[in-house]
Amino acid sequence: MALTGLEIYKQLPKKNCGECGPPTCLAFAMALAGGKASLDSCPYVSDAARAALDSAAAPPIAKVVVGSGDTVIELGDETELFRHDKKFYHETAVAFLVSDTLGEAELSDKVAEINQLAFHRVGLEYRIQMVAIKNDSGNPETFKNAVQTVASNTGLALALISENPEAISQALGPVASRKPLVSAATEANWEQMVAAVKDSGCALAVKAAGLDNLAALVEKITGAGYKQLVLDPMPDSVSRAVADFTQIRRLAIKKKFRPFGYPLIAFTQAEDPLEEVTEAAAYVAKYASVVVLKTTDRAALLPLLTLRQNIYTDPQVPIQVEEGIHEVGTPNENSPVYVTTNFSLTYYSVEGEVEGSRIPSHIISVNTDGLSVMTSYADGKFEAEKIAETMKKYGIEAKVKHRNIVIPGGVAVIKGKLEELTGWKVIVGPREASGIAAFAKSQFA
């Protein structure tokens, strides 16, 4: 819980020297509470006060880093229980499980397949993050070789899955600089596990069944000085996972319960690949920072990664579609041309209705910084000039033979100006997208 200005004030020297900028210590405390000043500006703050204030200012969930170079993944550092309260910051990392019992060729093939798992939709690229190698063989040497094979075949981040400290120790040696995630420390092995990862500073998953056991184990490990941790409460059902993940996130954020102030890792339980993805969808929604999957079916991953993108979108920033000319169906040189804004909800409502009209069409989306029709018009971002400029920029005159453009009914007043600027005939469309189907039928069918 963040401190209030008065709580901070109590810790300050109360000299009112003004050297920090604000004229009084109280004003400075208020600025600190609002995140508008840094404690470093105060030359007289005592060490004890600094320690107290720093710990209160620490994020409720630590940021833990996995991977190196181009594949650094930041986990955790979240501040909210609900995305509408502010936003969720660090997208769930998606990891794919491979077994060290696979032969070298099979393993390389599997990794090559995982490497290719990138998706493009609506102008975005969706990526996956990790390959997780599991020590199913139980043999440290086999595990080490498998990790080597995977490491030399992928640029993705790695996760090493074994509860045998000897296996982790051996496998980690050659790949330590890539900062893999190591899973897991348990009640039985934690001292050796910490010893194995200590020098590299790799993230270590801590695994214990039940929240009390998990908290106790985390306290032992942090007590021994290791704090690069990820939590696995070992839920035995999806329902239990929802409960455990919620409890951990709540206690971390609302109570600043330190043992739970780390990112969460979820392993899917379902064997059926499609069930696995519906399960993973629940973990993406409910706070998992890493989800480890078995399936590599693209058709199932695309929806999951789309959901991840949706959930982690900043609710305060309107989502935009790409500016330009979009095609609905397969339009030709005689097809209608509509213009709207680039606010995703506006655009997709229009697109859906145009599609519903079953008349292939062009839709020009104008960059209005993600504002809807009436808001952007009021803001001067959907004026005739702007629309004319966009029409020219993307060369609509080369795409159609006719010179007719449909504008939203709400901005009927720009008709004259737009006609003057472009020489096109401007047709005033319906005010609401829901009127487009009937409108298109009467105009273009």
Partner: protein
């Protein structure tokens, strides 16, 4: 750490048995939650969320990946509904009257009533009936449907902010419940509930349809609206405490991702699996944010979602 919630989501019961004045052989209750979705550990989740499968009164222009399951029955709404219930495990049926659209087949109120009766005769589960979206026609048809099925405790829709009076009156007079549909806007959602309640419709006969938007096409707005409305309900806001219906199937099958063949976008994987998962993943997200009734289309997406609900309904008390 348990949150103490003072409020509760309203319980809406759908369908009436012979003893209750209808002809249903099974009835359904949705809502009643006193906690966030599936937080069994700190409150009651007395009724499992249900899956409604869609039936239309006219042969739909659905793509092949749906067509192959329903083509044999989709010109016979009664058989179509029976297949949904008996073969694919639908908990209830969502009958969409697209055939009455004046811009389309323009069927009459009498035609629509006949279809509703046909479906009621074919299946014993509760029935949701929704108009075509044309305000005037819907009002005329839904009034007739409400009267013809008086006592069946149907769920009828859609009431909207500028068109709720006729439907509300028809539901009130004939013992049905009502769907209050708002366009991805929590203020309108609440306002509409207030308007309908002011006509003396009890809160336990209203179901919210917040218009979810498709996965990848704005579903996060609905996600947060539903989360906020559940939190509001638990804090005692009666005008946000109605159960929620999500039109997952309708939204998903409009999406490019459900309709683009694999040859066009090889990196998106097999088309049918992709379409199924587009629906099932959206349903999974909606369950986590408070859906009570999921409208769905593909039989396998329905099966996956029912399994997901089974898993989430397992107790997780401490």
């Amino acid at each position: 750490m348990k949150e103490k919630n003072t409020g509760r989501v309203a319980e809406v019961s759908l369908g009436a048995t012979t003893a209750e004045g209808g002809t249903r052989t099974t009835t359904i209750v949705v809502g009643g939650d006193t906690a966030l979705p599936f937080h069994h550990f700190e409150g009651e989740v007395p009724h499992r969320p249900v899956v409604a499968m869609e039936v239309q009164d006219i042969v739909p222009s659905w793509p092949e990946h749906l067509g192959k399951y329903f083509r044999d029955v989709w010109d016979k709404p009664g058989e179509w509904a029976r297949k949904g219930v008996d073969v694919y495990g639908a908990d209830l049926i969502y009958l969409k009257l697209d055939g009455i659209d004046p811009e389309g087949a323009n069927r009459s109120a009498a035609d629509a009533v006949a279809v509703v009766k046909e479906v009621l005769q074919a299946v014993g589960v509760p029935l949701i009936v929704v108009g075509c979206g044309n305000t005037e026609k819907d009002n005329e048809v839904m009034e007739a449907v409400a009267e013809a099925a008086a006592g069946e405790k149907l769920l009828l829709g859609n009431a909207e902010q500028d068109n709720y009076r006729t439907l509300t009156a028809a539901c009130l007079g004939n013992g049905h419940s009502i769907i209050a549909r708002s366009p991805l806007d929590i203020n309108i959602c609440k306002q509409l509930n207030i308007l309908i309640t002011e006509m003396n419709m009890p809160g336990n006969r209203i179901v919210i349809d917040p218009s979810i938007g498709g996965l990848g096409y704005g579903i996060e707005y609905a996600y947060s609206i539903m989360e906020r409305s559940r939190i509001g309900a638990l804090q005692g806001d009666k005008m946000l405490s109605m159960p929620i219906l999500c039109t997952v199937g309708y939204e998903c099958w409009r999406a490019k991702e459900a309709n683009s063949p694999e040859e066009e976008v090889p990196e998106w994987g097999t088309q049918e699996t992709r379409a199924i998962m587009w629906e099932a993943t959206a349903a999974s997200a909606m369950l986590q944010t408070g859906a009570h009734i999921l409208l769905m289309r593909h039989p396998q997406a329905v099966a996956l979602t029912r399994k997901a609900i089974d898993r989430l309904m397992q107790p997780n008390n401490y």
